[in-house]
């Protein structure tokens, strides 16, 4: 089973590698988020290190004058919190869009009948498709966002917020385990959507609907609950694993070998 799943996934990866523009856009999104977040934190770090800059900031933003250091810390906390939210929701969003075309692509290029004719179980087909769309975004997610978060954690302005940054156990669990697992869940849902859609427009509309709830829901579980610690994130990851397996099983029942459906 694993062999066939990987065989299907490898074909997806091979096709995606031949679409460098698509991979560049996905990478650029994570680079943009990392650049904005790191820039904001570096600026805040510089402000916190030089009192006269805090005073200048106070001149521009009068609300800062009462307690400048507290305001910088609060703003840094907002930036760190927003960055985790952005990274998770964008990962889920990208995966959703890619999975939304996974099976539909086969319908469009006419390969679906040949996949259904082959001795491949539907759960193998679906799992292969999900793995196929999952890996390409996970690489820039891990490399770019992971490196940016690691760098951010070295800045003094981020020290009060280390619970939301590496190497805190909650961040490690959410970033390395929970995020990919919930991305697999969203990818499974959208791959199911793409398998029952007969045209791109319908698939896109339903994927958008799924994506809206998935990104907010999963974003809350991963980023919103991160301050609650590693135990909560372990539970979140476990829930994601159960939800993914359930979706794969349900999806394998939905995909029909009957092409007329």
């Amino acid at each position: 089973m694993i062999g066939r799943v990987l065989h299907i996934a490898r074909r997806e990866w091979r096709e995606q590698l031949r679409q460098p523009a698509m991979l560049a856009v996905v990478t650029a999104l994570f680079v943009a988020i990392a650049f904005i977040v790191v820039s904001a934190l570096v600026i805040l770090d510089a402000i916190a290190a030089r009192p006269e800059r805090s005073e200048a900031l106070g001149a521009w933003f009068p609300s800062f004058t009462s307690d400048t250091s507290s305001a910088v810390e609060t703003f840094a906390g907002f930036v760190v919190g927003a960055s985790t939210w952005l990274v998770f929701t964008q990962l889920l969003g990208i995966v959703a869009v890619m999975a939304g075309h996974a099976v539909l692509h086969d319908r469009q290029v006419g390969t679906l009948p040949f996949l259904l004719l082959a001795p491949v179980r539907r759960i193998e087909l679906l799992t292969g498709k999900v793995l196929g769309v999952l890996l390409p975004p996970l690489v820039p997610y891990a490399l770019v966002s992971g490196s940016a978060a690691a760098y951010a954690s070295t800045l003094s302005v981020a020290q009060p917020h280390l619970a939301l940054l590496p190497p805190s156990p909650a961040w490690m669990l959410a970033f390395l385990v929970g995020g990919p697992i919930w991305a697999a869940f969203v990818a499974t849902l959208c791959a199911i959507v793409s398998s029952v859609s007969h045209d791109v427009r319908t698939a896109q509309q339903v994927v958008w609907f799924v994506m809206f709830f998935a990104t907010f829901g999963c974003g809350y579980l991963l980023a919103g609950l991160m301050p609650d610690g590693a135990g909560v994130q372990a539970v979140v990851a476990g829930m994601g694993a159960v939800a993914t397996l359930g979706a794969l099983f349900a999806g394998s029942q939905v995909i029909s070998r009957d092409l007329s459906r």
């Binding site: 091979r14 031949r18 259904l116 004719l117 007329s260």
Partner: protein
């Protein structure tokens, strides 16, 4: 043992509309059966029923007694299919496409290469096998689709307008290969609008128009394959 593909009272309705009413038809190994009829008459639906990719709403379609939709899920690879759309991944090369589909049946790259080698050469694809399919002409794609169908040495070959949009020489090549495969014992079902091809290629023809209207044996009525001055002129000047 000769293969037997049988439709017994096979019917298909779609949202309350009958696409195909009760069809009784049998195709045996060694023969080519043409399905002809008007557009929307149910030919492709019947072909997909033979492939096991559309289930009959009434009746049964079996291959050697086993419902074809169950044959499709087994690992036998008994049914080869060629559709009007070649069904290949455009960003993969011809070789990668063959290796991918062969791999679904457990064939290694070496197995695929060994099994496809002769036909790839016969069809003039050897020089383009490492080129992306997106760069192939329609004819080349359809030829590759035929190679794919042959990878598993199926006992039944189902073709849905395989030569639609192909030039006369490519059409002739594919028809000759199909005839040869049938002569080697394969059961072939061909959906076509090309009556001339049906006459020279097929042993029997079934007229499908919402159901089975007639079955005609063509033995003895076989007409010669396309020849003549214009065809030879085309072969000489228009074949790369």
């Amino acid at each position: 043992m000769t293969v037997r593909l049988v439709a017994s009272g096979a019917a298909r309705s779609w949202r309350g509309t009958d696409v195909l009413t009760s069809v009784d038809l049998e195709v045996a190994g060694g023969e080519v059966m043409a399905l002809i009829g008007p557009n929307g008459g149910g030919k492709s639906t019947l072909l997909l029923m033979f492939a096991g990719l559309v289930r009959p709403s009434a009746g049964a379609v079996t291959l050697d007694g086993t419902p074809t939709h169950e044959v499709a899920t087994s690992s036998s690879g008994s049914i080869g299919l060629i559709t009007a759309t070649p069904g290949l991944y455009p960003l993969l090369t011809g070789r990668e496409n063959l290796e991918f589909f062969g791999g679904l049946y457990g064939l290694s790259a070496a197995d695929v290469s060994a099994r496809a080698g002769d036909m790839v050469r016969d069809l003039g694809l050897a020089g383009v096998l490492d080129v992306k399919v997106a760069a192939y002409s329609s004819g080349m794609q359809q030829k590759l689709s035929l190679v794919r169908a042959q990878l598993l040495r199926p006992r039944v070959l189902l073709l849905d307008e395989p030569t639609a949009n192909l030039d006369p020489v490519s059409t002739d090549t594919i028809h000759r290969i199909v005839r040869r495969l049938a002569d080697d014992g394969m059961a072939v079902v061909l959906v076509t609008h090309d009556l001339h091809a049906a006459e020279w290629l097929c042993d029997r023809v079934a007229v499908i128009a919402g159901g089975l209207r007639a079955v005609e044996r063509l033995d003895g009525a076989r007409v010669p394959p396309p020849t003549g001055r214009l065809f030879e002129l085309y072969r000489a000047w228009a074949t790369p």
